[in-house]
Symmetry: C2
Subunit: 110 residues, 2 copies
DNA sequence: ATAACATATGTTAATAATAACATATTTATA
DNA sequence: TATAAATATGTTATTATTAACATATGTTAT
């Protein structure tokens, strides 16, 4: 009997992981998560730091919120955002560290 | 002097991380990496296991190769692929584990 | 209640990712 | 060397992402 028993990622985990990676594959969102790792910030502050338009910031935050990576709280006129899921930062930080390794290890261009 | 010294991800790391996350945000590519983690496989085998067309497999493998996540070797008529970068699997596996956590923690739909 | 500030949401145009199909290369064997 | 098998590459239509702009909603102070 020849059984190699190769394992596949099941549909649910696959889709969920895909969503997470999609969320992290955008530079603005990555920076936002990185910022919020350090400090709770409101929309205007984030836009100022990243030099990104207000509506873009709000849209991307909504996106992150939809997938529960951030939560928010209204304080006065401003709405402050914070990380809702510190664990995801492990993935981010590990990947940044990895990217560092990849960058250093590059033979030529690309 | 008011200095909050908020740190930003620098351009290089940001772009590199973005590339990696983009690569991982596709279900076919994720499955491929997961397969290759277990066993070196050729194009036909991968297509068979994942039930994906030959040209799609080749295109996606080329994509992964371009970013040095896999390497390949010709053996007879077949070309076998293998992981070139086991470290990236840590990111993948951590994210899958995380997605598991997220899925369990979900209150209602979405 | 109205004005001003902050944020959210709707819509659209530009761009990128994907799968599908066709064709070209490469390798082994008759 | 001709053929078949395996893989790669080119091209295109479909769909998804993104940023930009316009408008709406919510919050505070006057």
């Amino acid at each position: 009997m020849k059984q190699d028993s190769i394992h596949l990622i099941d549909e649910k985990h696959l889709k969920e992981s895909q969503k997470i990676f999609k969320l992290l594959s955008n530079p603005t969102r990555l920076q936002m998560l990185h910022l919020l790792e350090q400090k709770r910030l409101n929309v205007k502050e984030i836009g100022g730091i990243l030099n990104v338009e207000q509506s873009v910031v709000s849209h991307q935050l909504a996106h992150l919120k939809k997938f529960q990576l951030v939560s928010s709280e209204q304080i006065g006129k401003a709405r402050y955002y914070q990380l809702n899921d510190p664990h995801i930062l492990d993935v981010v930080n590990e990947t940044i560290a990895h990217s560092d390794h990849v960058m250093r290890g590059k033979k030529h261009g690309e």
